[in-house]
Amino acid sequence: MNLSNIIIIFLCIVSVGFTQNTNITGTFTFKKRNPGVALLYFDQDKGLKVSNANLDQMNKAFVKPLLVVNPGSEVKFKNSDAVDHNIYASDKKQKVNFDVGLITTGGDTNYKVEWDKGKVVKLRCKIHPKMKSYIASIESEFHKVVPFEKREKELTFEMSSVPENLDSLVIWMPKYKELHVNLKPGESKTFELTRKGKVKGFLSLKRSVAIDEK
């Protein structure tokens, strides 16, 4: 390692040390039913590298409401349940179709996510139509999955350490219109959440000014 390399590494570390991060506080409010899960991510970032994505199944349900991976990731579908499952996706709009076949009790199957970034695809089980989960194929390290409890009408969450230079935010929820909004440090904004053209709720976001993380 020569000096120039050392200097570059040093500069990187210093630069990281000096990155001004921001925190976001958000509150979802729904008039009636909540959509089960929401995903927020700053789509300018490309830093996500998921190496051991897995989605397990227990008690006739997926253990996660939404799994975030980056395009090209391998997902290991596990079955820790006492019954067999058979995961598939059939999304005509986004042209994502796959079927991993039967996963017997205790078994697993790998599946490579080869869709374009930005797609969120619903997973189902051929044997248990009640089961559902989602795989989001995104590239951003700066994302947040917000799961809702049944009948929760208001929920506040935090998303921390978002670099100040990222300000383009995507808000995704099942069946809702995907929002692409701009949120700069120090801003507070409220967005309408719409489904089939109707306002079903609101998301209020408050972003801190850049803070010096130590």
């Binding site: 006492a82 044997i127 139509p129």
Partner: protein, 325 residues
Amino acid sequence: MLKFLSLILFLSIGSIVYSEPLSTPDVEDIEYPDDEEPSSELITLGKTLFFDHRLSKNKNQSCATCHNPNLGFGEGVAHGFGTMGGKLERNTPHIYNLAWATTFFWDGRSSTLEEQAVGPIEANGEMAMPMPKFLERLRNIKGYKSLIKKAFGDEKIDKERVTSAIAAFERTIIVDNTPFDRYMAGDLSAMTPKAIEGMNLFKGKALCIQCHDGANFTDDSFHNLGIDDKDLGRGKIVKDKTLNGAFKTPGLRNVLMTAPYMHNGQEGTLEDVIKFYNKGGGSGPNKDKLMVPLNLTDQEIFSLVAFLGSLNQKLEIFPPKLPKE
């Protein structure tokens, strides 16, 4: 003998799967399309369509002919008949509490009530009215104009409107105040001691709850009971051999009314059904591993039937006056 008993115990425990607790369904949990509860005008339109026998090819059959509200929304015989007189292949499923369901038809080939409604209307062996003809027939019955206007604001008749109305009516067919529900709500005298015994067997030794679980006594899943009638069921839909011969678990609310039982109507009474399960089901191929002999005594079967009786609630659904032509 002890060895034999422990083998049974092993088989039972070995196959125990997660079950949602039995409970009363909550209307708050219904996922209406667009989260909008349907208007009473939409429900009225849907109910009228549901009962109108003029909408089948031979003008002799409505949804209510096979989903007969007086026969547990089934047809009361193992196999009903279509408008042209042909015998139906499967026993008509009941439609109680489908507002909470996630999959429709015995083989689960529809995932919404709206989509489901189209099937029997268009099927050659059932009402035999392809959608364009169905809509044309509807347009020729003058009385529907005002019903549709009340529901939608104008007189346009199309497939989406028609199916959303039928589905809206079907979502009102709710059984949620049975002796069982009153018992769960704290009225301990609502169920007799025999029925309570039956409930404990249902959740325990008889293993019923492994598939008939949750508020509607169904896992909404597909199982092969060993009935060997060459019907591939779910397997045909998902093109997966492991699901050949598997059919959707029907919910058990109002089950007494919905005889006969099984996808082919082969079992006449609740007693017959339990005896079928008691011997571990049928002898057909690809049988679900949950199907094991239960060693229930006749007295235990008696108690189980008493419990199933306590899942009953009569819904007063009066057929509408049909609109004039």
